[in-house]
């Protein structure tokens, strides 16, 4: 017996829900970024699972989308963490509940 597509999809759904939990419940900006990264990674697992279990195309579309999504997640992490540092300089805090104005 080998794992079915359902197993991969449920593992991915669990990872997505844990990322959502981190993004919604924690009040620390870095935790929220970690949660968003986990949700993106769970979506990548879905792409790879559907590539492996679906019909084989040439070029491999699922693998390509996963690679591009990893690159975009890296860009998102760089900008997000830069925003955390810039906001920390201003407010001396990383609690998102205290950030209440856009003006510098």
């Amino acid at each position: 017996m080998t794992p079915t597509l359902q197993g991969f999809l449920i593992a991915s759904a669990a990872l997505f829900s844990i990322g959502l939990l981190a993004a919604l419940s924690r009040r620390h900006a870095i935790f929220i970024l970690i949660g968003i990264e986990m949700m993106l990674a769970a979506a990548n697992l879905n792409f790879i699972a559907f590539w492996r279990f679906g019909q084989q195309h040439q070029p491999p579309v699922g693998v390509m989308i996963a690679l591009f999504s990893i690159a975009i997640a890296a860009a998102e992490a760089a900008v997000g963490l830069a925003i955390v540092i810039a906001v920390y300089r201003h407010y001396r805090s990383t609690n998102v509940d205290e950030f209440n104005q856009l003006r510098g």
Binding site: M1, T2, P3, T4, L5, Q6, L9, I10, A13, A14, L15, S17, I18, G19, L20, L21, A22, L24, S25, R26, R27, H28, I30, F31, L33, I34, G35, E37, M38, A41, N44, L45, I48, A49, R52, F53, P59, V63, M64, A66, L67, F68, A71, I72, A73, A74, A75, A77, A78, V79, L81, A82, V84, I85, A86, Y88, R89, S93, T94, N95
Partner: protein, 160 residues
């Protein structure tokens, strides 16, 4: 594909992700996040997408986890304070997970085993990147450059 390996990888990945979401100490959470990414890369190795698994390890652990650790160290003065925890998020996450699991289990066409495929080589990926996906790849390169310059501009100290 081996069911035992699948279950072991799933347990490691999900418990590391849970630790990353719930641990009080920020540094422990960041290291648990790196462990969860290793587990996810193991999933990719299991299904035969080795190149994506390696890219995931290089980019997430080599770049993103290190960036997170640097940010934690740079905002250190605030780390000791407890920021609280909202229980509403737990309810929403559990509801989302229940809905997704219900719909996955109800869809009969997902209860299939993996077909036999020829191994995916790095040469195939490189050829696809250089022919079909050459414009998306250039755009991602431009996006990464713009994002890194933007990140630099955001954190540069303003001279008074």
């Amino acid at each position: 594909m081996n069911t035992g390996a699948f279950i072991a990888i799933a347990i490691v990945t999900l418990s590391a992700a849970m630790a990353a979401a719930t641990l009080r100490k920020l540094m422990h959470a960041a290291l648990s996040f790196a462990l969860a990414i290793v587990g996810l890369a193991a999933f990719f190795f299991l299904v035969g997408a080795e190149f994506v698994g390696l890219a995931l390890v290089f980019i997430y652990i080599g770049a993103v986890a290190v960036l997170i650790v640097f940010t934690i160290l740079l905002t250190r003065r605030d780390v000791e304070k407890d920021h609280g925890f909202k229980w509403g998020g737990v309810v929403i996450a559990a509801a989302v997970f229940a809905g997704l699991t219900w719909s996955i289990l109800k869809t009969q066409s997902t209860a299939i085993v993996a077909p036999q495929i020829r191994a995916l080589t790095v040469k195939q990926i490189g050829q696809a990147l250089m022919t079909t996906y050459v414009w998306p790849m250039q755009c991602v390169g431009l996006l990464l450059t713009a994002a890194l310059i933007g990140a630099l501009l955001l954190v540069i100290e303003e001279k008074p």
